[in-house]
Subunit: 378 residues, 2 copies
């Protein structure tokens, strides 16, 4: 175990019995959120940082679940003692979002009305629903105001929406590798992922749990599409190139060849399809597609950000083509026009969109420097 | 019908009974190629241009098949009287490649040994197999030397391979939006397409014709993946943006929304799956993956191009991210180092990889100017 890790952590569970009216109009009468915390809440309750997860993320962002656990949380590079989100100073809260499949109420949990898993009948969610449920979690934990709300990709959308919906409940919004809204190309990739899942006979219209089947191949395909788009062309070239896993490209070899990248993708796909819920994947990609920060502000992101009262850190990565630096600059331009304090950096990194999870020195350094400023005012 | 069209054309069919030994070592004892020609072969037989098609192309590159035919050939913008490949001067030959599904011998034609469609038992092919079979077609048509061999994408790979395998049988090689070999990212997208097809229960291990099923959904998914990657982010943004086809993004609307880009992709996918053969798609993507111009020249493209005796035109498009300008510059750099005459242009175009099929003025102008030089020496 890395000495700079938060060490062994245990998920906790909060139940909420006050009904939550969702953006779609439906009401969740009660629900549970699974979360982890790292570090200690200070006496003034002013050092709390909310970490919002992305498409396939969950509450386990840092540390290990047991002494023998080899795999740390998904943001281990950024959360821990001496790390950008320094647990020597911050009290970090990381939850599994509503609709997720890692313990919080969602398609795989039981619908009290039917006694069966919600499955495809779980209400469709918007980013704002997550923000509202996270605000309830803040209430539950006694946190009036976050020192910062932080997230990458879909998580960054939550960090932005927080700034508009609860302007007095966060002092900083950290938006990494995100966008004001998805492009047609982004939506198209999500559509392919959903089509792959929904056309798998094992999907059974979403009722695969009730019917004891699984859309394993469809979910694997969806993940493969995602995985390619999260990596840059350069990163894939460096990682795999045209290396062969089996066979050869020699003339006269009829069996043909398999490239390393093929088997890697298949492995990633099958790993994912064994650990993630298909209905959750559909629900989360729809929330991504539908997110549009400025839609209800006459499509004017400047007007939207005028609601915000916090400061912003915006980060992007040079080879991220799913959420390119240009998309981050749109956020920054709108923040400047709205007269909001913003710090922006485009980080040179070859890892594409996945860079936000990686230990890239310049990234950790800039992110850490900003979080020290947050700390000084918390 | 456009007055600058070649007008009504009819496919022709050539049968070859001399066995063809393929790169994989297997032998086709006889085979047929379907082709079209546009313009007239001159007395010196020096004005013939071979057009090589890309992944989903075929022999019908220009003109119409009947007076009521609304859809011209796939390269109508570039082939015809007064067009870049000017049929007032050139005799154009366009064939359906071996292994195709538009009439030439391939997975959907009958294997004489079994009396059944070849299906997945059709031999795997390399780009060089197409070149050899095209050389036989040249013999059949009495063409000793092409004025030019021309192709985009996978077609450009054929144009390059021609220059190495039959250096004395072409005077010009026109390589548009192509590459010396695929990147890991390119291969990864092809792998997803194949996985989508092969995991469709209707694929039946490739024996869908014999079993009277079709991997329609898998082939549609494969096409959707291809389609996104052939378009640029900008082109999709301009074409679709976030326009809705149905529903709304209003709060309180539970039915949700469908974006135009979603229904467009589904339409494209279903159209394609009704007109293209899945085994051919797999075969062609494998040929793409395996193509590596310099592999047998110690991975040195300069050494490879030293085999060539023709002149080259290389064209790329600024927003093509599947075969980016950088990949074309690698071709150009190797040609220069090999002391081969080469003309290169990177064309500003927002259409991505698909730009090579589009009437982009600067593209048509440069392509046409080069072809007039070809004409002057033919």
């Amino acid at each position: 175990m890395n000495p700079a890790s938060v060490g062994i952590v245990a998920p906790q569970r909060a139940r909420f019995t006050e009904p939550l009216t969702l953006a779609c109009g439906r009401v969740l009468s009660d629900y549970e959120l699974v979360y982890e915390t790292y570090g200690e809440l200070n006496a003034g309750r002013s050092n709390a940082v909310l970490v919002c997860h992305a498409l396939s993320g969950h509450h386990h962002a840092a540390g290990y679940h047991s002494a023998g656990d080899r795999k740390p949380g998904w943001w281990e590079e950024c959360i821990g003692p001496g790390k950008p989100i320094d647990t020597n100073h911050f009290f970090v809260v990381s939850l599994n979002n509503l609709g997720g499949c890692h313990g919080s109420t969602g398609p795989v949990t039981v619908n009290p009305a039917s006694g069966q898993p919600w499955g495809p009948d779980f209400p469709s969610l918007r980013v704002r629903d997550w923000v509202h449920s996270q605000a309830r979690l803040a209430d539950y934990l006694g946190i009036d105001c976050w020192a910062a709300v932080v997230g990458g990709s879909l998580g960054g959308m939550q960090a932005m929406r927080w700034a508009l919906l609860y302007p007095q409940r966060l002092r900083h919004s950290v938006v990494i590798a995100s966008a004001l809204r998805l492009s047609a190309q982004n939506i198209a990739f999500n559509e392919i992922a959903r089509q792959a899942i929904q056309s798998d006979p094992g999907f059974a219209g979403g009722h695969y749990l009730a019917q004891n089947t699984l859309p394993a191949q469809g979910l694997a395909l969806a993940r493969m599409v995602g995985h390619i788009t999260y990596l840059s062309d350069d990163a894939m070239a460096n990682k795999f190139g045209r290396d062969l896993r089996s066979g050869s490209l020699e003339l006269g070899d009829e069996t043909g060849a398999e490239f390393q990248v093929q088997s890697y993708l298949r492995y990633q796909g099958s790993q994912f399809s064994g650990s993630f819920d298909a209905n959750t994947y559909i629900l989360m990609t729809r929330a991504l597609d539908y997110f549009d920060l400025a839609r209800e502000y006459d499509d004017d992101p400047v007007a939207a950000f005028r609601q915000a009262q916090c400061s912003f850190l915006v980060l992007s990565f040079s080879t991220d083509w799913r959420f390119s630096p240009q998309r981050s600059r749109e956020i920054v331009d709108a923040l400047i026009a709205a007269d909001r304090p913003v710090t922006y950096a485009e980080i040179e990194a070859e890892e594409g969109h996945d860079a936000f999870l990686m230990p890239i020195p310049r990234y950790l350094q800039l992110f850490g420097a900003y979080m020290r400023r947050v700390q000084e005012t918390s």
